[in-house]
């Protein structure tokens, strides 16, 4: 039998527990009380180690501003976690694993602190990147809600051993060279009638973010400064779109890329000769296959007629302060600490990831690291010109459309490259019109 007094006691206990939990979220107060900030970091092992080290150091140096580090709650993607947290009002003070393409959505929802309100924002940004580069991270309302923290410029890794065996001295630079080499690097090694070595491999499933590492990387390399979408309008270069669609169409039509799904990395396994990768692949190879794979790294291929500078997709991650923070000024101080010269060096040393710094390649602080890791210097040199996705709130839907058109034209040859480019621009225009 449940007496009312028992039920009341249970309710009171629940209320006390709930109150206790909510009070525990951020200890703060006036008059010299300790401010506690919550910092969400990525869940990968190296970044957790880096964050633990940096937070420990900060907490020792700043007894009045203590930071509590938490790994991002487990989910399919950081974006899903952040959307849920924004909706529930449970965002941390700072997060360092933000995809720039999602920032406009959060900013539109009023979930982010405008960083250009801080007096030293401009000087901090100028020290890290050029005005032109920063423009790509500014929201359409002209404000800045993110600090670009790190980048993983995409380059082409190639298997030197396979190239040597095929009698190819140098890796390809243009689409024609790539396709010519592909004919010699796609073969049936054990002569069982089934091709088991290919020039490259891309996941053919229409998954929007997969297109960052094929279509968009090659688009960035060939289109210079023309983003896909800017200021609410479609600005993509249809000629470049057609060339990129056409290049991949040749790869799939000739069987240089398999239409399959590998549960393992086919480059590591020696089944494909080239792959478009970020510096994470180098760290992975060094950690797990040191000395076992003879590889080289070069910029991604470009159309034969291309004469501009080298560029690529940057795969940046940014830091933001959420508007639920009760201590944005203190959060800004901590954010600056996370991107200072020493912290950036530790990012290189601990996580082998490239900090967004305009002096990264030649600054004395980083020279010895790059002397010991020449592969990463190649990625760092690409970082200076690497592009990011646009600052439209519809980036995911735009990339889903790219994925659909890529599949139609490049993978299944259902449209010509020119038709695909025209369809892409039209469909993106329709998305922008619907979401406006």
């Amino acid at each position: 039998m449940c007496r009312p007094s028992t039920a009341t006691a249970v309710l009171l206990l629940s209320a006390l527990l709930a109150g206790g939990c909510s009070r525990n979220r951020s200890a703060s107060g006036g008059g010299g009380a300790v401010v506690t900030l919550t910092y969400w970091t990525s869940t990968n092992r190296q970044e957790v180690a880096l964050a633990t080290e940096l937070v420990g150091k900060w907490n020792r140096l700043h007894p009045k501003i203590q930071v509590r580090m938490q790994q991002l709650p487990v989910n399919q993607s950081t974006e899903e976690v952040i959307v849920a947290a924004v909706s529930a009002g449970t965002t941390p003070d700072i997060c360092s694993n933000i995809w720039p393409g999602s920032v406009p959505e959060y900013a539109r929802a009023g979930a982010l602190v405008r960083l250009n309100q801080f007096a030293d924002f401009d000087s901090l940004v100028r020290a890290r990147m050029s005005e032109a580069a920063m423009a790509g991270f500014r929201s359409e309302d002209g404000n800045s809600y993110q600090i670009p923290w790190k980048t993983n410029p995409v380059m082409m890794i190639y298997n030197r051993q396979l190239f040597r065996r095929a009698g190819i001295a140098n890796p390809p630079r243009t689409y024609s060279e790539y396709l010519a080499d592909a004919g010699r690097l796609t073969f049936d090694e054990n002569h069982d009638g089934v091709v088991d070595h290919w020039m490259g491999y891309r996941d053919v499933r229409p998954i929007w973010w997969q297109r960052f590492f094929d279509f968009y990387t090659l688009y960035c390399a060939a289109a210079g400064d023309r983003p896909i979408v800017e200021k609410g309008g479609v600005t993509a270069d249809p000629q470049v779109c057609a060339e990129v669609f056409g290049f991949f169409a040749e790869c799939f039509r000739n069987g240089f890329y398999p239409k399959t799904f590998f549960q393992f990395d086919p480059f590591i396994a020696g089944n494909v000769a080239t792959e478009f990768v970020g510096p994470w692949t180098i760290s992975y190879i060094k950690e797990n296959y040191a000395g076992q794979i003879d590889y080289g790294i070069v910029p991604v291929p470009v159309p034969d007629s291309y004469r501009g500078p080298e560029s690529t997709y940057g795969d940046h991650k940014c830091m933001v302060i959420f508007s639920t923070s009760r201590h944005p000024a203190e959060a800004w101080e901590f954010l600056k600490f996370l991107v200072n010269e020493e912290a950036d060096l530790r990012l290189l040393q601990v996580a082998s990831q490239i900090p967004v710094r305009r002096d990264i390649v030649w600054a004395p602080s980083y020279r010895s690291f790059f002397d010991a890791n020449p592969d990463l210097r190649l990625f760092a040199s690409q970082a200076l010109t690497a592009r990011e996705v646009g600052q439209s709130p519809d980036e995911k839907e735009i990339f889903d459309t790219i994925s659909q058109v890529f599949e139609e034209c490049s993978v299944y040859n259902r449209s010509t490259p020119n038709e695909a480019a025209a369809a892409l621009l039209k469909r993106i225009g329709a998305i922008l019109a619907w979401n406006r």
């Binding site: 039920a7 539109r108 069982d192 998954i207 399959t260 799904f261 519809d394 995911k396």
Partner: protein
């Protein structure tokens, strides 16, 4: 005294009432509210009237996803029923290791759908899959199981049948055991062959089970999600884009929760109509 008894009644049923209010009534009411709003899950919802429904009517991908789901059902349900019935009859007649075989057939049902899909991805892989390796060793050509727009959905239906057939086999087994043995006995004495007994006694007497199996597998089939999500992402060329996957993409990938809610409501109505027609047809057959 009566008042006290009534309050105890409310107290005892309160866990269910709270559950229903939080997990059924509120989500349903909120979804209905979202049908008329644009909402990204973060900013305040914006009223758009019938805008989401107007978009839905003109959305070719929604119609495509409905057709894909129906294609899945048309292949999956008959396969499911035929194999489940065959397995049930076989399992009902064996006496040797009966428990073992029943467990074996039921095992895929309890394995996670994601795990099953990843395993089948390895079987179906075009260039290095187990099935195509066997076919090429037999001197036959490779089959583009999930990379051909024409074959991808049938391949998924085949995999889903393998995964779920155990559950429906158990249902048919229960139905078979309810059929009195004397009826078969009498028919046998009268000279009816095994096939005749199966068609004239077993199948008609299994009709209630059949109705249950058809309705359950229709509802489960309409909720097709894990298999295309993991295996094909809805491709190739949207040929495996199920309606639930499309709703998920709109709601959770692209942040169109209002449009996702509109799609969900219309889809629920379609399921209701199909199940009602199915029940009517099966009961009058």
């Amino acid at each position: 005294m009566m008042l006290r008894a009534r309050s105890h009644g409310w107290l005892l049923s309160s866990p269910y009432l709270v559950y229903a209010a939080v997990f059924v009534v509120f989500p349903l009411a909120f979804s209905l509210y979202l049908v008329f709003h644009r909402w990204d899950g973060m900013a305040a919802p914006v009223f758009v009237g019938l805008g989401n429904l107007a978009r839905l009517v003109q959305d070719p991908l929604f119609y495509r996803s409905i057709l894909n789901t129906l294609e899945f059902l048309v292949i999956h349900i008959p396969l499911q029923i035929v194999f489940a019935l065959l397995f049930a009859v076989a399992l009902n007649s064996i006496t040797w290791l009966r428990g073992f075989f029943r467990a074996v057939y039921f095992m895929p049902v309890v394995v996670s759908g994601v795990v099953v899909t990843i395993l089948w991805q390895q079987l179906y892989s075009y260039d290095n899959g187990v099935l195509n390796t066997i076919l090429t060793h037999l001197g036959l050509g490779r089959v583009p199981w999930v990379t051909s727009p024409a074959l991808a959905m049938p391949s998924i239906a085949l995999m889903a049948t393998w995964k779920n057939v155990g559950l429906y086999t158990v249902m048919f087994l229960v139905g078979l055991q309810d059929i009195p043995a004397e009826m078969h006995e009498a028919a046998r004495i009268d000279g009816a062959t095994a096939v005749k007994r199966f068609l004239r006694i077993t199948v008609p007497l299994l009709r209630p089970t059949m109705t249950l199996v058809v309705v359950l597998s229709t509802i489960n089939g309409f909720s097709l999600f894990v298999e295309p999500y993991v295996m094909t992402g809805g491709g190739p060329l949207n040929s495996t884009l199920s309606t639930v996957l499309y709703i998920y993409n709109q709601g959770f990938y692209f942040g169109h929760l209002g449009y996702g809610a509109a799609l969900g409501f219309v889809f629920a109505l379609i399921i209701l109509v199909v199940v009602l027609i199915q029940r009517k047809a099966l009961e009058s057959a």
